[in-house]
Symmetry: C2
Subunit: 293 residues, 2 copies
Amino acid sequence: MKASTPLETIGLLGGGVIGGGWAARFVLNGYDVKIYDVDPQAQRKIGEVMANARRAYAKLTLAPLPREGTITFVDTPEQAATGVDFVQESAPERVELKQELLARASRVAPAHVVFGSSTSGILPTQLQRDMTFPERLVVGHPFNPVYLLPLVEICGGEKSSLEARERARDVYELIGMRPLMLQKEIDGFVADRLMEAMWREALWLINDGVATAEEIDDAIRFGAGLRWSFMGTFLVYRIAGGEAGMRHFMAQFGPTLKWPWTKLMNVPELDDVLLEKSFRNRMHKPEVEQFEN
Amino acid sequence: MKASTPLETIGLLGGGVIGGGWAARFVLNGYDVKIYDVDPQAQRKIGEVMANARRAYAKLTLAPLPREGTITFVDTPEQAATGVDFVQESAPERVELKQELLARASRVAPAHVVFGSSTSGILPTQLQRDMTFPERLVVGHPFNPVYLLPLVEICGGEKSSLEARERARDVYELIGMRPLMLQKEIDGFVADRLMEAMWREALWLINDGVATAEEIDDAIRFGAGLRWSFMGTFLVYRIAGGEAGMRHFMAQFGPTLKWPWTKLMNVPELDDVLLEKSFRNRMHKPEVEQFEN
């Protein structure tokens, strides 16, 4: 396949929170989608995601949006992979289920149709195992809500071709995303490893009674989170050194890396007690309407 | 001291990156500051921080800003603590240095004057050790740039009074900050523990050749960072569960906490090789003008 291969219709395997987000992003960028999902509520749920996404896009820009693509619901994974130019799989995180869906869809999709998987936890080498033309499978891991966050991690497995990685990158760029091409196949990819490291520490702080979930959320959103929305950790730290730059920062803070600031290796038991502790003060309904999907 | 104690003049011990940020925040909110700093360049550097802060505030709001306070440079810590209503210490992170500065200043400041320390790594119990009226010392840990980020962590030591914690909170709220009252004295407080957990993982990813510093920064700012600027990890995860909420999220992702996604306990040697790897592609000058201080 060429990077210039046209893109008109996308097959979506799975239409839950993530699959629905993909549907919204593709459709609002003018592409047609075919969705396969076993949930009898899928049409209603995706309709709600679409409404949220339309509202969000209208606030994001004054520019006219492209004419919306169409949404077709189909009954089998084979139908979702027929007559499409790209397939995005967003089924639940069960390896056998994903393998079967991808294998079935791959038998009917022409060899040039690349498959992206939204998995956050399964390696592409596993996912491509039973596929026809397995070299066209890559992970294309998005972030919720998919129609708003630009990041997508592209990760190939042992059999994935460079062409498939590049085709996925081109497709995602067409819908306004910011692909990150990973150099190695690694559990959790990059972004989730970073997030999970922080979340683990957060759970310990709750477990030990140092802070509540609300306080931890505030510690993020009124502090580093404001910086992280436009600059990453390394640039932040480099600048924190003032005129002397990174060397100054490291001279001051480098040694603290060896201090016992984080409870790292151990994992608090994420049982109902800790869950209850973490969420007891949360309102039932979150305040942010665009995320209610 | 009462929460209603007036606030007019603040003594600043230390006028570097953080102390200069405090100066800008207090002065642009209409309060006078007295600054003690041994650096002969302190006046010039703080002038540059002030210019950046004025530019930033002008972009933040169309409302008229209060009349600026005044800046006075003084020659001793005692002078900085004389005739002031609050003292903020932002000296380099060396415990003996901070202890001595705080002790000297505390001998001249009336008992009702509360001291906040900007330390990110030293416990308040250590800092208050040699002070006159040690109960008035709390940590008031801000985030860079201090004139922009609202978060400030308030943490008391063994001798700190509730009144001192509350006075610090009131002072910080007067200058538009969002105080977080910590329940326990803990190394690294809360926010830096969270940041450091993530940064440690980032250093491993660079060390192992999985991603570059630029890619890690992109993985943050085009993904979770955009969410973290207005909602913390727990709210994000709760909403990620879709209609089923947190239970759905945990059923799907809870088990991954036990997967080997993070290289936690070990710390990569932060030597020149890793530093070089982390920053070799960075331009010398960061692009974000407000942070150049």
